[in-house]
Symmetry: C2
DNA sequence: GTTGCATTATGAACGGTGTTCAGTTATGTT
DNA sequence: AACATAACTGAACACCGTTCATAATGCAAC
């Protein structure tokens, strides 16, 4: 194993990922470039392409880590709530809290589009599906008289709604200011939806 | 007024806008470039910059036209429904129908980010606000016991929700196929929200 | 030590992007 | 016919993602 620098392949991999997270966190998805990442870790672009297939690959991996952190946080904070309804509201709060704390990193998950004919890898789709499953599980105890299919649909509708509030809020299209206002909007959406859903 | 070609400034302006709409419609926002637009209308890039400040300007104008078409359609189709609740559901349906018919054009409204420090012009923000106002107006007859402030909030929450469903559906993140499934999801979201909202 | 080899890293090159602007060309007016 | 002015061009700039021949290095064998 001949090596020229002090870093192993895995180390460079990790360095690139966290450098990307820093750059995106500061300058947003638009401010990201291969040369910037390479420069930040003290290597050249060529080296980056020894460790990643291409920029899409790098970005997907960063987005994967973001989803992991988000998921972990939602699981953890949701567990604090004892009542089912409170747990669902908490999921929304955690989601929005995260998006507001790391807007650029969070937005990149949705701003990024794969180049050309490339397809979203399965491991990434699983991370997304996991989020929906969390909502579905949270919804189950509140939907005794509904079929599993109905619950799955309701979870999708509900979570898409929360996501919509979040995405419009983060991109300043809602005329509301501050995290609390966004939380209130979500509470309104989730609360009223649940009320309607449980009485049907 | 010395002119060399057969087209006036206004004509070139219009040609560029519709060429952009065609390119984006076929190849998506990513497939758009100044040289492509210029080539499509038989001019060079330089000419494009005589008519538009920059690409952001061009894209904003195209997005403005898209919002106009969307708004006109929502107003028109909503008027067909006599009951307040049906009108609200119709708004959602029209929105989704439009997004599914012209996914690329519709998505560009939300994919596009202004370069650097540029700011969204007021005329554009007004077009967005107009959409929320439509929902707000539709919600009023159903919210007799609610204050105007509450109605405004509810309209934002509701519309963000519909938008969320729409955006996840168009980018294939919902595991649902076909326009009808998306319509069902929206009906579920809007229906249950309204049921909850009206009983509170 | 020295040699040879496989690994690691480079950076120039390619075709693309948005944007600018000096220079050319065609037109309307004098 | 000459001039002024508007219209238009296209080369140039700095950036982008991506590739790859080349150089530099560390290690094993001799």
């Amino acid at each position: 194993m001949a090596r020229r620098s002090d870093h192993s392949r895995d180390q460079i991999h990790e360095m690139a990922l966290s450098a990307t997270e820093r750059i995106v966190g500061e300058q947003g998805y638009q401010g990201l470039s291969a040369r910037k990442v390479a420069g930040a870790i003290g290597y050249t672009v060529g080296t980056l392409y020894l460790v990643f297939d291409n920029l899409d690959d790098l970005i997907l991996q960063v987005n994967g880590r973001t989803l992991d952190r988000l998921y972990a946080r939602m699981v953890q904070e949701q567990a604090k709530q004892k009542q089912a309804k409170e747990r669902l509201l908490q999921l929304g709060h955690s989601y929005i809290q995260f998006a507001c704390e790391e807007p650029h990193t969070w937005q990149m998950i949705f701003e990024h589009r794969l180049t050309g004919e490339r397809e979203i890898p399965e491991w990434f789709q699983l991370k997304v599906a996991r989020m929906f499953a969390l909502v579905e599980t949270g919804l189950e105890p509140l939907a005794a008289q509904h079929s599993p299919g109905e619950i799955a649909l309701a979870a999708r509708a509900l979570w898409s709604g929360v996501h919509g509030v979040c995405i419009l809020a983060v991109s300043d299209k809602l005329d509301v200011v501050g995290v609390e206002s966004v939380q209130n909007l979500t509470d309104l959406l989730v609360g009223n939806f649940l009320k309607g859903f449980m009485s049907s």
